[in-house]
């Protein structure tokens, strides 16, 4: 009898240690990470001894801004989204930031519903700090790995606090933009999961980049930023981004045009497939990328040549040539200026030609710079709209 009472009491009290009331939780939805004042003084940190107490040093390595929705403004009669409440702290590491923030905030910080991570280009110039930040996100069990990651030009704090015209807060705006990648080819959504996977492969990654136009009070997507060895290397413009997406075979929608007699013919791309083949000659690698595009004509002009089968084939040929030239340009940029391979040749070699990969692994950068890449585009226009 006593034993069963004891058992029942034990099972009732299991929640006692971890209880947090729901109104005492703060659900962080956005994190912005900026470079702090002291981020360049790594030598000061290197001088610290391992077994000395270092908890009191005032070293502003990063500045973290947390944005959380104001739940008091949400409810069934009120709107479904609200403006965020913000908190900025200077700290040495991400965990230090949480620690300092919990001294300023009256609620329990909770990462479960985080939607957006904004990294500023300042922080991305310091690979040591970025490695610490990446490890933090990889190690937390409660982080939502499907959150979007973007790189912001300038201060991430301004972006976290930005109120877009169509939405209540920036993470809804950016998530909506990312989901728009179905229609717009210049948007390349990157989740934390993808970012961590790419970084764990070889320290390289691509992240979409944002720019804040102060005069027009707009935040616009300006293509992608290229990360090499955990450091920001450069940017690709929106058009170059859409070409990279196409070459990766991940493009879900977009628009390309060619000009005939001064009039643009627009096709909207519906589907892209890619196929890589490879041959070697004298220890040099030759890659062939075949890109199969399906689309429909969305814009023509009144009084133009009627769209017959032969004319469509001519238009397709024009698209093929123009997109091939564009893509080869972009590939040359990735080879020569950045030496980063965002298209996936490295994965292709590793997966399908492991013996060659083993030989080339150590000198992949050199090999990629010197290999010849040939792009063949095959456009098929499936529909022309509802008028002739």
């Amino acid at each position: 009898m006593i034993v069963s009472m004891f058992m029942v009491i034990c099972t009732i009290f299991t929640g006692c240690w971890d209880k947090v009331e729901i109104d005492k939780r703060s659900f962080i939805s956005t994190i912005g990470i900026d470079a702090g004042e002291n981020i360049g003084d790594i030598d000061k940190l290197k001088k610290l001894k391992e077994d000395k107490s270092n908890n009191e040093i005032d070293f502003k390595k990063i500045s973290v801004t947390y944005g959380a929705p104001d739940i008091s403004k949400l409810g069934p009669q009120k709107s479904a989204a609200s403006q965020d409440l913000y908190l900025t702290t200077d700290a040495i590491t991400m965990e230090d930031a949480v620690d300092k923030a919990s001294a300023k905030i009256s609620r329990d910080i909770n990462y479960g519903h985080i939607k957006l991570l904004i990294l500023s280009d300042g922080v991305m110039g310091y690979p040591d700090t970025f490695k610490e930040i990446v490890d933090y996100f990889q190690r937390q069990s409660s982080i939502n790995r499907m959150m979007y990651v973007v790189l912001a030009e300038g201060n991430a704090e301004e972006y976290v606090k930005f109120k877009p015209s169509m939405e209540q807060n920036i993470e809804t705006y950016i998530s909506g933009l990312m989901q728009n990648s179905d229609r717009n080819s210049t948007i390349l959504p990157v989740t934390l999961n993808e970012l961590l996977i790419h970084l764990s492969e070889n320290g390289n990654a691509i992240i979409p980049s944002l720019k804040y136009d102060k005069d027009k009070n707009e935040v616009i997507l300006t293509g992608v930023a290229l990360i090499k060895d955990y450091k920001l290397k450069g940017y690709l413009s929106q058009n170059e981004t859409s070409d990279i997406e196409m070459l990766r075979g991940k493009l879900k929608g977009g628009k390309k045009s060619v000009y005939v007699d001064g009039h643009p013919i627009d096709i909207s791309i519906e589907n892209v497939r890619k196929k890589i083949t490879m041959s070697t000659l004298n220890d040099k690698l030759f890659f062939n990328i075949d890109v199969f595009i399906e689309g429909q004509i969305k814009g023509y002009y009144i009084g133009g040549k009627p769209l017959t089968n032969e004319y469509i084939s001519t238009i397709e040929g024009n698209f093929n040539k123009s997109i091939e030239d564009e893509c080869e340009e972009v590939i040359k940029i990735t080879q020569n200026t950045f030496s980063i391979d965002p298209i996936g040749f490295r994965e292709y070699l590793e997966k399908y030609h492991p013996s060659i990969w083993k030989k080339k692994k150590a000198t992949w950068e050199e090999t990629y710079k010197n290999c010849i890449i040939n792009v063949n585009v095959h456009t098929k226009i499936r529909r022309i709209g509802i008028s002739k």
Binding site: G112, S141, E201, K351, Y352, K358
Partner: protein, 368 residues
């Protein structure tokens, strides 16, 4: 006494699967990817084949000894004293494996769900719930296994379907591009994921239709093998082999990363933790009952109630012995793996050979 209870074929099938598939499911892709990258599925298939070989040895041992109780078999073959020593060491192996299991279970619970609750308290609660189920006897446990089988595997198959959106199956390439030494280094992972089928030493003597023994066990091992291969393939498809080698619990992170826009479940933490509990519990109670049964037979106690009260403090102390997760992983290292192999494979094999040699080893009295 409920000795007239007869286990159905499905009961045997479900019990072996449910006792073997435990918490190892959530962490083994990490270890396999570390050693053999993308070829873990091959290692699992080898593990499954070897396990079936060991199962055949166990079945033969039981058949030869007229389907009697395991402790009785050992006592008959080795004499009362030495047989009891061997049976006790088998019970100690069960206790160790339970202690490692319970500690891993509680550590992961603490990390994902209950961060501030003391470890000791969680271990006590788990043990108490285990005791509650055990008190029902063997028929309760078998019926629990049968129900838990459906509860465990249907949700996880549904979850695997939901992952197809995120996965890229070309991550499985390149195939077979590792040095042979790496495959050999990764074989011990199999011991961790396939151990548990020794429960058949407890259950098979009670089986209703003994002619279906081989079919039931073959189906269960094949099911386990296919399940493990599937989980491994999916973790590779969602993360690549690089991220798999970094994450400690790839399966848990994989289920948490399911993202279906517009679905009514946005956070999968709750579901994956429920599965974690269920997968662990079935392994735990089967092992617990088996070890209590052995202790009862060794010391000729009238009921199992006394024996599990005796075992409880040992599990508690052994579970608290490692300082942290890394020390726990060392615990699971060479010493425990060899101990497992000796207990599950070597001991029955030697007993069987001894039985053949002495020709008088068939005189086991069946447990009536």
């Amino acid at each position: 006494m409920n000795n007239k209870y007869a286990v159905s074929t499905f009961g045997v099938f479900a019990s072996i699967i449910v006792a073997t598939v435990g918490i190892g499911t959530f962490s083994y892709p990490n270890e396999l990817s570390q050693f053999v990258g993308t070829d873990g599925w091959f290692v699992i298939i080898i593990g499954g084949a070897v396990s079936y070989g060991i199962i055949l040895i166990l079945i033969k041992l039981l058949q030869k000894n007229n389907w009697s109780n395991f402790t009785l078999i050992l006592k008959n073959n080795y004499g009362n004293f030495v047989g009891s020593i061997f049976a006790l060491s088998f019970a100690i192996y069960c206790i160790f494996s339970m202690a490692i299991g319970i500690r891993t279970f509680v550590e992961v619970m603490r990390m994902y769900l209950l961060e501030k609750t003391p470890t000791e308290f969680l271990i006590v609660i788990t043990l108490l719930i285990g005791v509650y189920i055990i008190r029902g006897g063997l028929d309760t446990i078998i019926r629990f296994n049968e129900i838990a089988f459906w509860l465990m595997f249907i949700p996880i198959i549904v979850v695997l379907f939901l992952l197809l959106n995120n996965s890229d199956f070309t991550n499985l390439f390149p195939i077979m591009s590792n040095k042979p030494i790496e495959y050999i280094k990764s074989l011990p992972v199999n011991i961790y994921i396939f151990k548990g089928f020794e429960i058949l030493l407890l259950i098979l003597p009670f089986m209703k239709v003994k002619s279906r023994v081989k079919k039931a066990t073959f189906c269960s091992i094949t099911f386990i093998m296919v399940f493990y291969v599937l989980i491994f393939i999916f973790t590779l498809a969602v993360f690549t082999k690089y991220q798999n080698s970094v994450l400690l619990w790839p399966t848990i992170t994989m289920i948490k990363s399911i993202n279906i826009p517009g679905s009514f479940i946005e956070r999968w933490d709750g579901i994956v933790m429920t599965m974690w509990i269920l997968f662990y519990f079935t392994t735990f109670i089967n092992s617990f009952y088996f070890s209590s049964d052995i202790i009862k037979n060794v010391f000729n106690l009238k009921e199992t109630k006394l024996s599990y009260i005796v075992i409880l403090p040992f599990i508690y102390l052994a579970a608290l012995y490692p300082e942290n997760l890394l020390e726990l992983n060392d615990f699971r290292g060479v010493f425990f793996q060899s101990f497992t192999m000796i207990m599950i494979a070597l001991l029955p094999l030697i007993t069987l050979i001894k039985g053949f040699m002495s020709k008088a080893g068939g005189g086991g009295i069946s447990n009536n």
